[in-house]
């Protein structure tokens, strides 16, 4: 049913991801889908990497490690943005489109008061994407 599963990840907060990663891996195995890890970085140096190229390598390494650990096929795709604080959602939606994803799995926080003012990434993606979206709280 699903062939291309996109999972946005924040390499700065890998510790918050295990549950969502497990869900993505299970779904991928069940449907025989490829998991594509997507991440958005800034073009200026960040805590993760000196530049987008280095970021892309780190994401690739992350993808390989996950593929090995869960026994799935994984690809990675890094995007650079001028202003990730604002543009992350837009970039992720573009990625989902470009990568022809049919399922998106992402970790998301439990909604709080601020979500009434501006929604979290997960909420925005599910509101605007054509693909099915699985938010892991």
């Amino acid at each position: 049913m699903y062939r291309r599963l996109v999972m946005p990840v924040d390499l700065g907060h890998v510790e918050r991801l295990p549950k969502a990663l497990q869900v993505a891996a299970d779904l991928a195995k069940h449907y025989g889908a490829t998991v594509i890890f997507v991440s958005v970085t800034a073009e200026v140096p960040t805590p993760i990497a000196h530049n987008p190229a280095e970021f892309s390598q780190k994401l690739e390494a992350f993808g390989r490690a996950q593929a090995e650990k869960h026994g799935i096929t994984a690809e990675t795709r890094a995007y650079a943005s001028h202003d990730p604080t604002i543009d992350t959602d837009k970039t992720l939606l573009k990625a989902i489109n470009e990568l022809e994803a049919d399922l998106v799995v992402m970790a998301s926080h439990v909604p709080g008061v601020t979500d009434y003012i501006w929604a979290g990434h997960g909420a925005t993606i599910s509101a605007h994407s054509d693909a099915s979206v699985f938010l892991v709280r």
Partner: protein, 556 residues
């Protein structure tokens, strides 16, 4: 797409593939000193000493200024006067060094280095890039001084004339034709000197250094990174904290004071156009304008760099070009065209005399105008430089200097020629009856000088409205880009800190400006910001050295 090899996919999805560059290896990790407190539902991600210290210092400074207004204003104004009169030679010399460093890099092989690595491609097209350069750097100043400064040098008898001290209008009568032409040329040359190579060289040095150390060396995008070649790992400790706190405070004070003054100017303009008596003096009106500007900046900052500042800057560039073309055609068109080349010629033939730091007797001009301007540009340079750096990735150093130094100089010269030239012509034609003469010479009302010039051209109401819109939008873009810069510095170089932080800084700036406007103290704080120009001038001279050293290590 899925069957592409991994690395090709990466090249496709990352707009700027990197090439060889000289990464500085350091143990410092961006954000390692950051703390992530939560205030209510808002999570923050801030650099520990820098955010807290600059926040507290700013609040303390403002409270003290408001509490001791009587003492603070004379003290800071005296300090500013002391600095510009005692260190005028230093400011002028530093300005010359910045220009020479930029021109030296331009013609040397260092110009081949590409910002962001050998294979990087530009993030922004020329139009958006230029628009943002002007919107952050001097848009608001061009609006304010475009008419004021040329007419001031041309016609005021107050002894602030540069060099020859030819004055076009003596005791309300036109001078003889030879002196008239000499006064006009000197006025234009001196104005272009203050808006030409020197200010842009100051911005270029800061911007280029920041861009180099962030995009090529991989250090965080904060002011302290420039000092890595000199201070080494110590830059991540207190020496660096002090540099960043200074940068934050100079930016905040500069923004808040110009927001305060700008709101007064805009309200005076609105009052003039709509014939509202006393709008210029009404503090409440100005505070409402600050509220509107802050609200617009808030929307812009929430829309991000591409959706906010860039759009607004482009809009403003179009409006400014429309206004300038209108002035050129409604004013003395042919005279302006011929004058432009004459003015540029005068600028280049007088530049050595104007920029000579010693042995001059035009104190009023050199200390009151040039040294003041240089201190002001320098105290703004961390903000403007950092913003320019952020949007300049992918350009070669040579391209950068041509576009940040040479082309803006030409654009400033065109602007000054059309606005100042038209205004001077009005004074020559009608002398004491010209509105501009009234606002610049007879009774000094500088904020109305632009509107006075426009009022004697056709469609004055429309063009004045465009003028007011330009002023307001330039303030919105300054407030917005300033908040981005302050947020980045106070987050230790992280540009993906939570959006609530930017919102905090935008509102904080607005409140600061409103408090200063209501409580008094704008002048005091502006004097304090300008005084920051002296330590920063030293900092920038050091930066020149670091910049050249850093560029030499890059692959070309």
């Amino acid at each position: 797409m899925s069957d592409l090899p991994e690395n090709e996919q990466d090249q496709e999805s990352i707009p700027a593939p990197e090439g060889a560059s000289d990464i500085i290896e350091t143990d410092y990790e961006i954000g390692q000193d950051n703390i992530t407190p939560s205030i209510g539902p808002f999570g923050l991600d801030i650099h520990n000493p820098v955010f807290v210290v600059s926040g507290l210092l700013t609040v303390a400074f403002v409270i003290l200024t408001l509490a001791f207004q009587e003492q603070a204003e004379p003290m800071f104004t005296a300090m500013r006067g002391f600095l510009t009169s005692s260190f005028d030679w230093f400011f002028l010399m530093a300005g010359n060094i910045f220009v020479l460093v930029c021109l030296g890099i331009l013609i040397s092989p260092l110009g081949k280095v590409r910002i962001g690595g050998a294979d990087a491609t530009p993030d922004y097209g020329y139009a958006g890039w230029f628009a943002m350069l002007f919107a952050a750097g001097m848009g608001i100043g061009l609006m304010f001084f475009g008419v004021l400064e040329p007419v001031y040098y041309f016609a005021t008898p107050w002894g602030d004339q540069p060099l020859m001290r030819d004055i076009g209008v003596v005791d309300g009568e036109l001078a003889d034709p030879a002196a008239l032409e000499a006064a006009r040329l000197t006025a234009m040359a001196a104005t272009i000197y203050h808006w030409g190579l020197h200010p842009w060289a100051i911005y270029a040095v800061v911007a280029l250094s920041l861009a180099l150390f962030a995009y090529n060396k991989g250090l965080p995008l904060t002011v302290r990174s420039i000092f890595y070649p000199l201070l080494g790992e110590r830059v991540w400790g207190w020496p660096g904290h002090v540099i960043d706190v200074l940068a934050v405070m100079a930016t905040l004070f500069g923004l808040a004071t110009s927001l305060g003054f700008g709101a007064q100017q805009a309200s005076a303009g609105i009052g003039f156009v709509f014939g509202m008596e006393g709008a210029g003096e009404s503090v409440n009106f100005a505070v409402i304008l600050i509220g509107i500007i802050t609200a617009l900046a808030l929307i812009s900052v929430i829309r991000g760099l591409d959706g906010g500042v860039k759009r607004l800057s482009e809009l403003n560039m179009i409006l400014a070009i429309v206004l300038m073309i209108f002035v050129i055609f409604a004013g003395p068109t042919m005279t302006l065209v011929t004058q432009f080349f004459g003015n540029l010629g005068a600028y280049f033939s007088e530049i050595l005399a104007l920029s000579n730091p010693v042995g001059r007797d035009d104190d009023g001009f050199r200390q009151g105008w040039t040294a003041f301007y240089w201190a002001w540009w320098i105290s703004w340079s961390p903000f403007v430089g950092m913003f320019i750096a952020r949007v300049s990735r992918g350009r070669t150093v040579r391209e950068f200097i041509i576009c940040v130094l040479l082309i803006p100089t030409i654009v400033s010269a065109i602007w000054m020629t059309s606005f100042g030239g038209t205004a001077i012509q009005q004074v020559i034609d009608r002398v004491q009856e010209a509105a501009v003469y009234g606002f610049v010479v007879a009774d000094y009302v500088p904020e109305l000088s632009l509107f006075g010039m426009l009022s004697e051209l056709p469609m004055a109401t429309v063009t004045s409205l465009i003028g007011i819109t330009l002023v307001i939008v330039f303030f919105v873009t300054s407030s917005d880009s300033g908040s981005l810069v302050i947020d980045t510095i106070t987050a230790g170089g992280k540009i993906n800190a939570p959006v609530s932080q930017r919102i905090f800084w935008v509102i904080f700036e607005g409140l600061l400006a409103a408090a200063l406007l209501l409580g008094g103290g704008l002048l005091a704080l502006q004097a304090a910001a300008v005084s920051a120009g002296l330590p920063f001038a030293i900092v920038l001279l050091v930066a020149c050295f670091a910049l050249i050293k850093g560029l030499m290590a890059e692959p070309r």
